[in-house]
């Protein structure tokens, strides 16, 4: 048996390397699906909650929207107001005991993290929609766009860009918080760490490895998200087309301080 810290670390990696890798894949799968599905849920919830109601609308539409809005509020409050680890227990064992539904652990994990993230995303997307200057929506209506057209083509693209940092934040939180889903025995990273530690009773070394993997994951993801944000902003350069003598001529403008060929 090894006698040093690094000795234990290398033994654990040697014995459990493929399992750690598997756990990493599960963690990423859960975090990515949870963030993407949660974002879609958040988008839908926020869109429904921002449908404009005019006093002239039929009563059924007004009542329907009011009811939908109430139910969505309940959803958001409940899932933001209880810990995900508790939600996991309630949903997983509740489904098993009262619906006779034995969910596969991975499926249950993705389901739970998605609806949990959706509750947060709903508020984030709503904030993003509010952040887009109201005048642009009015301008969209003034050239005849419907509510849906103005949302789809004008408001949401800007709202999503504005909330990218918050979406990235949710993603990083999901990578870390998916660890609580070990309570429903999904073999994500923390769960693997626990099993590896248990065999030799080397908790420190095992979780040291797990911590390092989590950090590499979140750090890499943060950098990638930053890159995506810069890509979404597009180039700051633009081209002026045509001149008095040559209609094909172009001049490219580089805003001050910007290096050409950027």
């Amino acid at each position: 048996m090894p006698t040093t810290f690094w000795g234990w670390v290398s033994l654990l990696i040697e014995k459990y390397g493929p399992l750690f890798l598997n756990g990493t894949l599960y963690t990423m799968l859960i975090a990515i699906s949870g963030t993407v599905i949660g974002f879609v849920i958040g988008l839908l919830v926020a869109i429904v909650r921002t449908i404009p109601v005019s006093p002239k609308d039929p009563v059924a539409k007004k009542a329907g929207l009011k009811l939908a809005s109430f139910l969505l509020n309940v959803y958001i409050e409940v899932f933001r107001g209880t810990p995900m680890i508790v939600q996991a227990m309630v949903i997983y064992y509740g489904a098993m005991m009262y619906l006779g539904l034995r969910m596969p652990a991975l499926g249950a994990a993705i389901f739970i993290i998605s609806i949990n993230t959706g509750a947060y995303m709903a508020e984030i997307v709503r904030g993003g929609i509010i952040s887009v200057d109201k005048g642009q929506k009015e301008a969209a209506h003034a050239i005849g766009m419907t509510h849906w057209q103005s949302m789809l083509h004008v408001v949401l693209p800007q709202a999503v860009r504005n909330i990218m940092p918050s979406i990235g934040n949710e993603f990083v939180v999901n990578i870390k918080d998916s660890s609580v889903l070990n309570v429903i025995s999904v073999s994500e990273l923390f769960f693997i760490g626990k099993s590896a530690a248990g065999t030799y009773a080397r908790y420190f070394e095992s979780f040291f490895i797990i911590a390092a993997i989590y950090f590499v994951l979140t750090f890499t993801v943060t950098r990638i998200l930053r890159l995506i944000e810069r890509k979404m902003d597009g180039g700051r350069n633009y081209t002026i087309c045509g001149s008095q003598s040559d209609s094909e001529a172009t001049i490219t403008i580089h805003p001050e301080g910007e290096v050409p060929n950027d």
């Binding site: 009015e138 969209a140 209506h141 005849g144 087309c241």
Partner: protein, 250 residues
């Protein structure tokens, strides 16, 4: 010969915000080729009038007829494309290029093909002197340039009448001229315009008719020469002497 049917006929329009009556019984008609300037002090209801005509605010009472048909019963998208609007704060779509700003409405609302929409957009961008900037984004333009693009965006929808809501009020003084120049050439080209403005020079020299609003009603309505040289109402006289002294004569 019967009188030509007006493009817009506004009758007994009222708008309340809570207990506050902003518009109290406004009636007038806009005929093809009219260039109407709406002047008056802040809070007189000028902008609210334009916003009600374009249904950005729902009128509390009254009726708007578009070519003789009740605008309420018309398809909103169709009505909006026929009654265009230019805003004080430009309101360009920040996520789109200059060209896309001018094609989005044509494609989505009028269902025009990409080629046709682009040709049309470039034609009107050329008219306002902004075609060279077709690939720029709104954030890269000056205020005057933005407003010229916003005018091209509205024109690309082939409106019957264009509403201007204080189009130069948010501009730096040196950019006011370029936007007024564009508006002047549009007026000379026969575009029907309803312009809420503080630019008395424009109202006096370019418009075919001036409406003076005060406290939610039309206090005076007539030929610009008459209104600027011989206003009938004491409150028109008082307003004009106040603003003309202030030097807002373009």
């Amino acid at each position: 010969m019967t009188e030509q049917q007006p493009i817009l006929e506004i009758s007994h329009l009222k708008k309340d915000f809570g207990a506050h009556q902003v518009l109290r019984d406004i009636s007038f008609a806009v005929h093809s080729g009219d260039v109407i300037s709406v002047i008056g002090s802040s809070g007189s209801g000028k902008s609210t009038l334009l916003r009600c005509i374009n249904y950005l605010e729902e009128p509390t009472a009254g009726q708007i007829l578009y070519r003789g048909r009740n605008a309420e019963t018309l398809n909103r998208a169709e009505y909006h494309s026929k009654v265009g609007m230019v805003f004080q704060s430009f309101n360009l779509f920040a996520n789109m290029t200059v060209l896309a700003n001018c094609t989005a409405g044509q494609k989505l609302v009028l269902r025009r093909g990409a080629k046709e929409a682009e040709d049309k957009a470039l034609y009107f961008l050329g008219k306002v002197g902004m075609d060279a900037y077709r690939n720029a984004r709104p954030a890269q333009l000056s205020g005057g340039q933005k407003q010229r693009v916003a005018i091209a965006r509205a024109l690309a929808m082939d409106p019957d009448v264009l509403l201007f809501d204080e189009p130069t009020s948010a501009l730096d003084p040196e950019m006011v001229g370029e936007v007024l120049g564009v508006m002047r050439s549009l007026a000379e080209g026969g575009l029907t315009m309803l312009v809420v403005t503080h630019e008395m020079g424009f109202a006096r020299d370019v418009s075919s008719r001036v409406i003076f609003m005060d406290q939610g009603v039309i206090a005076e309505d007539g030929d610009p020469r008459d209104i600027f040289t011989a206003p009938k109402q004491p409150r028109t006289r008082e307003f004009l002497s106040r603003v003309l002294q202030g030097g807002k004569t373009e």
